[in-house]
């Protein structure tokens, strides 16, 4: 099966999956207790006012009908308007999703090379260095994000004063306008992903290094970096690639802690706000978009794994 066919099939399957997921998300919003009326009309609204607002928001119609209307709009690219503030959902996505993708992408850019380096080093060397790195990684993986964020802020922003405490982005600008403001959020998010990927990679590198294939290469005089990069890494990278893909995909929507602590304008907090206000169109739009992103990232991960596999086949 050529790569194009593979990608095409996966995209088609992804589209079907996305449709199913959107229905599931809608069902989840429908069973959430309560509605957006308190968020829109205030807690003190009378019964009559509540009924009026409910009708205005279309919440008096059956859920299946509301879903049908939403789908009809969604296939034309119209995700509706939020209940709170009446802003088009696509506008919110357009301003916030790129910021989250940037954060996740930068985190991947930091974690991937470091994980490869540390994984290869510890997996092939073993010994004291291995124990040190592995223990550190274990500790890092166990530290909750908000503690990591607080530690980094205390050291880098408050004590050494080399980085800003919060990501104050110029109005109308993007996070790229103030690159130094990205450092703390990226470091915080990298810590966990790095430790998980390093530990995974270390195990598979150790396995691959002990395999007869690597042994044969070693007997043929292949040593050091060449052995690690040409012969061990391609065989060992599979699980780590999958793990990194999963964490990166999840990061796009669930970096809420980092977004809050550093006031980074990502999509995760928007989703959190929308859920709290029972803003169904917003929840539906953001959650479906995030599901789409996750499916695409997973696909990218699978393509990477396939390419690695192809190279491995070629190498033999």
């Amino acid at each position: 099966m050529s790569l194009t066919v593979f990608v095409g099939r996966r995209l088609a399957a992804g589209a079907v999956l996305l449709a199913v997921l959107s229905a599931l998300i809608f069902a989840a919003t429908a069973v959430l207790p309560g509605d957006a009326v308190s968020a829109v009309a205030g807690v003190d609204a009378s019964e009559a006012q509540r009924a009026e607002v409910r009708a205005e928001l279309g919440l008096d119609r059956p859920a299946a009908e509301r879903y049908a209307i939403w789908v009809a709009g969604a296939v034309r690219g119209d995700l509706g308007r939020g209940f709170v503030g009446d802003r088009p959902v696509t506008e919110v996505l357009a301003t916030r999703l790129p910021n989250s993708l940037l954060l996740a992408g930068l985190t991947l850019a930091v974690t991937a090379p470091l994980a490869v380096l540390l994984g290869l080093w510890t997996g092939m060397r073993g010994g004291a260095a291995d124990r040190l790195v592995s223990t550190t990684a274990q500790v890092l993986a166990a530290v909750p994000e908000f503690v990591m964020a607080a530690l980094l802020v205390a050291v880098l922003a408050v004590w050494l004063e080399i980085l800003p405490r919060v990501s104050v982005i110029p109005l109308g600008g993007t996070p790229l306008d103030v690159p130094h403001a990205l450092v703390l959020p990226v470091l915080t998010l990298s810590a966990v992903g790095l430790s998980v990927a390093t530990r995974l990679l270390r195990v598979s590198v150790a396995d691959a290094a002990a395999s007869p294939y690597a042994e044969a290469a070693r007997l043929n005089g292949v040593r050091g970096v060449r052995l690690a990069v040409r012969h061990v890494l391609p065989n060992a990278a599979g699980p780590a690639v999958q793990a990194l893909t999963l964490t990166t995909g999840a990061l796009v929507g669930s970096a809420v802690v980092a977004e809050n602590v550093f006031d980074y304008p990502g999509i995760g907090r928007e989703l959190q706000l929308a859920v709290a206000a029972r803003d169904i169109p917003m929840v539906q739009g953001i959650a479906t978009a995030l599901a789409g992103v996750m499916l695409l990232v997973l696909l990218a991960g699978d393509v990477c794994a396939r390419l690695l596999g192809a190279r491995e086949g070629h190498g033999r």
């Binding site: 959430l32 207790p33 309560g34 509605d35 009326v37 308190s38 968020a39 829109v40 009309a41 205030g42 807690v43 003190d44 609204a45 009378s46 019964e47 006012q49 509540r50 607002v53 939020g82 709170v84 503030g85 009446d86 802003r87 506008e91 919110v92 301003t95 916030r96 802020v153 922003a157 004063e161 800003p164 405490r165 919060v166 104050v168 982005i169 109005l171 109308g172 600008g173 993007t174 809050n260 602590v261 550093f262 006031d263 304008p265 907090r269 928007e270 706000l273 929308a274 859920v275 709290a276 206000a277 029972r278 803003d279 917003m282």
Partner: protein
């Protein structure tokens, strides 16, 4: 795609540059026409520098916020609107009618309390040069405020017959009341009622406005930028510009303040505020009465044991108010007396302060056969301090012999399912600072769902009579009688009023001079 973004970024920069140029020319104009305002007192020692851009941070509504403040519920929405638009007036205890008028010269009340005449201040100009007239006020009140779903704006429609409001010439608006009320000035001039131009439907950057500042930049969820409006009625602000930022997390707001990225941080949590105590560069400026938020517990009279007035009294006696003020708010809060709206003119301050008396509470519960009764208090982190006070209340109740427990919902959950909320036996709540009697009529009278089973037509009548009384002394008497019934038999435990714990950089002055400090305006602020 990326090219498109580059182009947009470029266009934005271009726009920002143009805005900067415009701000620059505004600055020049301001220097040449620098009028000696009546309230310009130079700071002690150094003369307070005219100009500069003040940066302030608030909790906003995220990326879904718009400029339509009639549909924007967050603190930032109102603060942004206050900077941008003219106001009918603000509450001012030292003012002649208890208010300080904005785009109005005054409000006359007819002898039978059936109509209010709003006199427009002549010569107020919008940024497009046109003069503010009665039509603009009428549009803002009877179209925009009347169509709003937010409780603050519904107050107008709940008291005035907005459908029959009319302009009398260019400078007079006549508002008929729905029933006779004497406290209408206090309702119209609470600071919430802002004026936009007649016919405004869409709220956009560049629309005409007559507030102290004009909007130059707005990014939903991030913030907005303003420059001084040099033709502002009354006085021209001292600041050259204003930047209102959205920073949702309390600690992040405090961090931005201490690291100098902002000059003013709104509504910090008690713990965060405490960490700023020994910071020499910043200063805490908590809001003062009446701008205090009441934290309360509602007892559902439709549910046992709260149908018994002795149980309700016991719960009120059991709570240790001083302990809440000390441990939750480190002293910067005020003890409540089980009635909302402390500090407003119609608040019954003549009633004795309820004591902390666990012994009497225990005895009352025994009398009512409710000792050892099981009660769950449901609350959530809707405003700082809410869960902490509830935790203390549960401990107090245990000491009085109630088997109390706490159920804490995640943020945003408490009010989301309102019918479930109104059916809770014991629920946490908070009261925004609004006048006592008009609010009672709107949200408690007539067995409203948020009254938790309180239905006393005698009290409702008394409140209506108090509001319809033009003799202030008599009105006070009637109002106090109504509130005494609530105090004695009511189903609300209100132990604490907490301020908004705002903080500012040391050099910032004049924020309180703008009144309505709960949602600060910056028209009289200056940077040292």
């Amino acid at each position: 795609m990326s090219r498109q973004i580059d182009r947009r970024a470029f266009l934005r920069r271009g726009a920002a540059g143009a805005a900067a140029l415009a701000a620059g020319s505004g600055l020049l104009a301001a220097c040449s026409t620098d009028e000696p305002g009546p309230d310009r007192k130079p700071g002690p020692g150094s003369s307070s520098r005219s100009g500069g851009t003040l940066r302030a941070a608030f909790v906003g509504g995220g990326a879904s916020e718009t400029l339509d403040f009639f549909n924007g519920p967050s603190a930032l929405d109102l603060v942004r609107a206050r900077a941008w638009h003219g106001t009918l007036g603000n509450l001012d205890p030292s003012g002649p009618d208890g208010v300080r008028y904005g785009v109005l010269e005054g409000i006359d009340v007819s002898d039978d309390l059936s109509a209010y005449t709003l006199h427009v201040r002549p010569g107020v100009r919008f940024t497009d040069g046109s003069e503010l007239t009665a039509a603009d006020i009428l549009h803002s009140l009877s179209v925009l405020a009347a169509g709003s779903k937010l409780p603050v704006y519904r107050l107008a429609a709940a008291n005035f017959d907005l459908a029959h409001a009319k302009a009398d010439g260019d400078l007079k608006v006549v508002l008929p009341t729905l029933r006779p009320i004497a406290d209408g000035r206090m309702i119209l001039c609470q600071g919430n009622f802002l004026v936009v131009k007649d016919g405004t439907v869409d709220f956009q950057k560049g629309m005409p406005s007559c507030g102290p500042f004009r909007l130059t930049e707005f990014t939903p969820g991030q913030g907005s930028a303003f420059e001084r409006y040099d033709d502002h009625y009354g006085h021209v602000p001292r600041l050259d510009g204003l930047e209102l930022r959205s920073i949702a997390d309390s600690t992040a707001r405090a961090g931005a303040l201490t690291s100098g990225e902002i000059d003013f941080a709104h509504d910090l949590s008690p713990v965060t505020a405490r960490t700023l105590d020994d910071n020499g560069a910043v200063e805490l400026v908590p809001t003062r009465s009446p701008y205090l938020v009441g934290l309360s517990f509602q007892m559902n009279m439709g549910v046992k044991p709260f149908d018994d007035p002795r149980v309700r009294e016991a719960f009120k006696l059991a709570v240790d108010r001083e302990a809440m003020v000390k441990t939750v708010f480190y002293g910067s809060a005020q003890v409540g007396n089980d009635l909302p709206a402390i500090g407003f003119p119609d608040y019954a301050e003549g009633l004795p302060q309820r004591a902390h008396d666990p012994e009497r509470a225990r005895a009352l519960l025994k009398q009512a056969g409710a000792d050892g009764t099981e009660v769950t208090l449901t609350t959530g982190p809707e405003t700082p301090g809410m869960v902490e006070t509830a935790t203390l209340f549960v401990e107090d109740l245990k000491k009085a012999g109630v088997r109390a427990s706490l159920r804490e919902l995640p943020a945003g959950q408490l009010y989301a399912d309102f019918s479930a909320y109104a059916a809770l036996p014991l629920a946490g709540a908070y009261q925004m600072p609004v006048p006592a009697l008009s609010t009672y009529q709107m949200s408690t009278a007539g067995g409203s769902p948020s009254a938790f089973g309180w239905k006393e037509s005698a009290t409702d009548t008394l409140v209506a009579r108090a509001r319809a009384e033009s003799d202030p002394a008599e009105a006070k008497k009637l109002g106090t009688r109504a509130q005494r019934t609530r105090w004695e038999e009511g189903n609300q435990v209100l132990p604490v009023f907490k301020p908004n714990l705002n903080a500012k950089a040391k050099g910032v002055r004049g924020i309180r001079d703008d009144l309505f400090e709960q949602f600060p305006g910056f028209s009289q602020a200056s940077l040292a």
